[in-house]
């Protein structure tokens, strides 16, 4: 069992959990992820290692509540424990001193770009960061990103906070100025696709982190297969980071939709159960009040 020691609501649908996992914390590197199972009936889901604290033996995971498992996860808190936790998985980011790099994080992808930007900064790179969300209330870790950036950009799709723009706009501006050696982008597939197209326009290499559906996370099943440079690769062991200019984005997006109908069913069932539970507790509370 893997104990949850702290919980923070970063945004209405984004939660941060601090989990006790000393062995993983000791080994974690930027760009890697874990696979966890909430309870005995649970699914294995991959989440990026957003941060880790080897001295305290803790890891940070940050997730957006999009379906059954992540919503269930968000109901847990200190005192609860995860049924299973495996990691660190995936190849770490190739951290070197490239010169000047741009790190783009979109939505919950901010959690994933943070350790990458930090590692690149520590390796001596000049770091330009661009983080963006749909709307103001989804923004998080802005200060953390600012702290390690030589030049931070912050934007929202709807303009409710800071600049009104998609992340690709500041990215294009920065690339237009020149002197950029490499770009990293993590976020929804569609965002990474357009970041890649933008970087390609300027002939700058771009690295993306592919979030395909996974089961084991060790290369055994092939659920996570993606196509890079015309070749089939397994995101869990060959990635998750790949050359963004070579990714078959349509295939990634198509394969992410594989279980759409089943995911919806699982979510509806979960929400019904939760509702029953809430009503039961409410009922209990009113009874007690009488």
């Amino acid at each position: 069992m893997y104990e949850i020691v702290a919980k923070e609501a970063l945004a209405p649908v984004t939660t941060r959990l601090l989990v006790r996992a000393p062995e993983i914390a000791a080994k974690a590197r930027a760009g890697q992820f874990v696979i966890l199972i909430v309870d005995e009936h649970g699914e294995r889901i991959p989440l990026t290692l957003a941060d880790w604290y080897p001295d305290e033996g803790l890891i940070d995971i940050i997730f957006q509540q999009v379906g059954k498992t992540t919503m269930h996860l968000a109901t847990l808190g200190p005192g609860d424990a995860l049924y299973a936790l495996t990691g660190p998985l995936g190849r770490p980011t190739e951290v070197r001193n490239y010169g000047t790099v741009v790190c783009v994080g979109g939505g919950v992808g901010i959690a994933a770009i943070y350790p990458i930007a930090r590692a690149l900064r520590q390796a001596g790179n000049r770091v330009i960061s661009i983080i963006g969300c749909r709307t103001r209330e989804l923004m998080f870790w802005e200060e953390r990103m600012a702290e390690l950036s030589d030049e931070p950009f912050v934007c929202t799709d709807d303009g409710s906070y800071k600049r009104k723009a998609l992340v690709t706009e500041p990215l294009a501006e920065v690339l237009e100025r020149g002197g950029i050696d490499r770009v990293w982008a993590v976020g929804p597939a569609i965002m990474m696709k357009f970041c890649s197209l933008t970087a390609m326009r300027y002939g700058v290499p771009i690295v993306v982190s592919l979030n395909s559906i996974m089961v084991d996370g060790t290369g055994m099943c092939g659920a996570c297969r993606v196509e890079v440079a015309g070749q089939t690769r397994f995101a869990c062991v060959d990635g998750p980071e790949f050359d963004g200019s070579q990714v078959n984005w349509d295939l990634l997006i198509q394969r992410q939709r594989l279980y759409l109908d089943k995911e919806r069913l699982a979510l509806e069932r979960f929400q019904q159960k939760e509702q029953c539970r809430c009503q039961a507790t409410l009922g209990g509370a009113t009874n007690a009040a009488r």
């Binding site: 062995e23 993983i24 080994k27 199972i37 009936h41 649970g42 699914e43 294995r44 059954k68 498992t69 049924y83 299973a84 936790l85 495996t86 990691g87 660190p88 998985l89 089961v215 084991d216 060790t218 290369g219 055994m220 099943c221 092939g222 659920a223 297969r225 196509e227 089939t232 062991v237 349509d250 295939l251 198509q254 394969r255 939709r257 594989l258 279980y259 089943k262 995911e263 069913l265 699982a266 069932r269």
Partner: protein
């Protein structure tokens, strides 16, 4: 009085019409009367040839004799002395090519049903009187075992009985390897695997789950904490055909399909969270045990039409004979001498069919099986909406990160001495599918047993020559 002329007792089975709709065990097991009658067929040969066919050397006539005498406890003790996982072996060993083919009665057509008797005794033992073997006094040595499949469990159990401290490192969240994630519930109930794993734990073996070696620890890190290391990580990497359309939605590796259903219990979705896709018309490519399991699982999940597509002829089918018969009884269609050359997608990138070609058999290849060649101009389309690739597996290279001193073959298997399991890396032994490529439970166990004996000898010798 042995009744060698009596017919081999049939195994009671669930009716095919019923079992198509459930995941309950197909073979129901002998009743005491059937077991007694079958045991009486054994001639108790002076020089029993059957034992030669068993990679772990089960003392077959002895356990059968005790069973016949009604002393099930002794029978179980004899069985377990050589075989740590008899309830599993009794169910999944390919007996027709192992012990039973060597039985003297096989020559007359009907060998003693050794596997069924083994299952009967093991099941009795589990339900009545679990055997606690003697454990040697502590040696003070510690051995790391990587992987908790049949090889890892066998090595761990033997080493623990020899007095060593044993820690198994397993990457998944449940122990058992293929026994838990691959072989379906209807052939090998997971309760039985769990009971056999608990037996291994009862010998003092510690199992550390969720530990991916190569990621969480390197082999060298494990070697700095343990005196010896046994590698039993199997061959878990699916092989693909590399034909167009293989990444379409609706194409799965058998590993993914079976892992979702068995390990993650997707057949109980939405009671369990993990979903699985099932098509209406399913094609399984390949004809090994894995293919049979995938096909029969698809039948149970409600597919209307399930076919095995195999490039060779019935004579070359590598699956256990019993599984083929069971699959046929359950309505699985067999398309022999056929292979897909492309998978076709619809406008939503879902599978809608396969372009196939007919094959003919030529001369035997290096593995002794006849090589199949495509017949020119024989292409045709097959209408399917799900394709499961069951073409075999290779060892997963994940574990080999940063171990240049561990020699491997071109096929990715670890080079190890056949008799001792020693690899080219000092203090590292290996056995099972990781050295042979996808093989059998019992051959993995046999290799593990030999390695355990050698590890014990090595640890206790003062010279420690590698």
């Amino acid at each position: 009085m042995p009744r060698a002329n009596a017919r081999r007792q049939p195994m009671p089975e669930q009716d095919p019409a019923k079992r198509r709709h459930n995941f309950l065990e197909v073979a129901l097991g002998y009743t005491p009367d059937l077991a007694q009658a079958e045991a009486e067929r054994c001639l108790q040969c002076r020089r029993p040839t059957c034992i030669d066919g068993c990679p772990v050397g089960v003392e077959i006539p002895q356990f059968i004799a005790a069973l016949r005498a009604g002393d099930l406890e002794s029978s179980a003790r004899i069985l377990k002395n050589r075989n740590n996982l008899p309830a599993i072996c009794g169910r999944v060993c390919p007996q027709e090519t192992q012990c039973e083919v060597k039985c003297v009665l096989a020559r007359k057509g009907e060998p003693v049903a050794i596997g069924r008797l083994e299952r009967f005794v093991a099941d009795w033992e589990r339900e009545h009187n679990p055997i606690r073997p003697e454990i040697a006094p502590s040696s003070g040595y510690s051995v790391a075992v990587v992987g908790s499949g049949p090889a890892g469990l066998t090595a761990a159990a033997d080493l623990a009985r020899m007095g060593h401290r044993v820690v198994i490192y397993e990457s998944l969240h449940q122990p058992g390897g293929v026994l838990i994630y691959g072989i379906p519930e209807f052939r090998l109930p997971k309760e039985i695997v769990r009971a056999e794993v608990e037996y291994v734990q009862s010998l003092g073996v510690e199992i550390r789950l969720n530990a991916v070696i190569g990621k969480l620890y390197t082999l060298d890190e494990l070697l700095s904490h343990h005196d010896a290391l046994f590698l039993g990580t199997g061959a878990g990497l699916p092989i693909w055909m590399n034909i167009p359309g293989e990444n379409l939605n609706g194409v799965f590796s058998a590993n993914e399909f079976l892992t979702r259903v068995n390990l993650m219990k997707a057949y109980l979705f939405p009671e369990y969270d993990t979903p699985v896709h099932v098509g209406r018309r399913v094609a399984v490519i390949g004809a090994g045990n894995v293919a049979m399991d995938a096909a029969r699982t698809a039948v149970r999940l409600g597919a209307e039409e399930v076919r095995i597509v195999y490039r060779r002829s019935p004579a070359e089918v590598p699956a256990r004979a019993e599984e083929v018969v069971h699959a046929e009884e359950e309505g699985v269609i067999f398309n022999f001498l056929t292979t897909p050359v492309a998978i076709l997608g619809d406008e939503h990138q879902w599978v809608r069919g396969m372009r196939c070609v007919r094959m003919q058999l030529g001369e035997p290849g290096p593995d002794g099986r006849r090589v199949a060649h495509p017949i020119e101009g024989s292409e045709f389309e097959m209408e399917v909406d799900m394709v499961i690739m069951a073409l075999g597996t290779r060892p997963n290279p994940l574990i080999f990160t940063d171990v240049p001193d561990l020699e491997r073959t071109k096929r990715g298997t670890v080079v190890a001495d056949e008799r001792t399991g020693r690899t080219t890396k000092e203090r590292v032994w290996a056995g099972g599918d990781i050295t042979t490529g996808a093989a059998t439970v019992i051959s993995a166990m046999g290799a593990a047993k030999r390695a355990a004996a050698d590890i014990d000898a090595y640890l206790r010798s003062s010279a420690r020559v590698w």
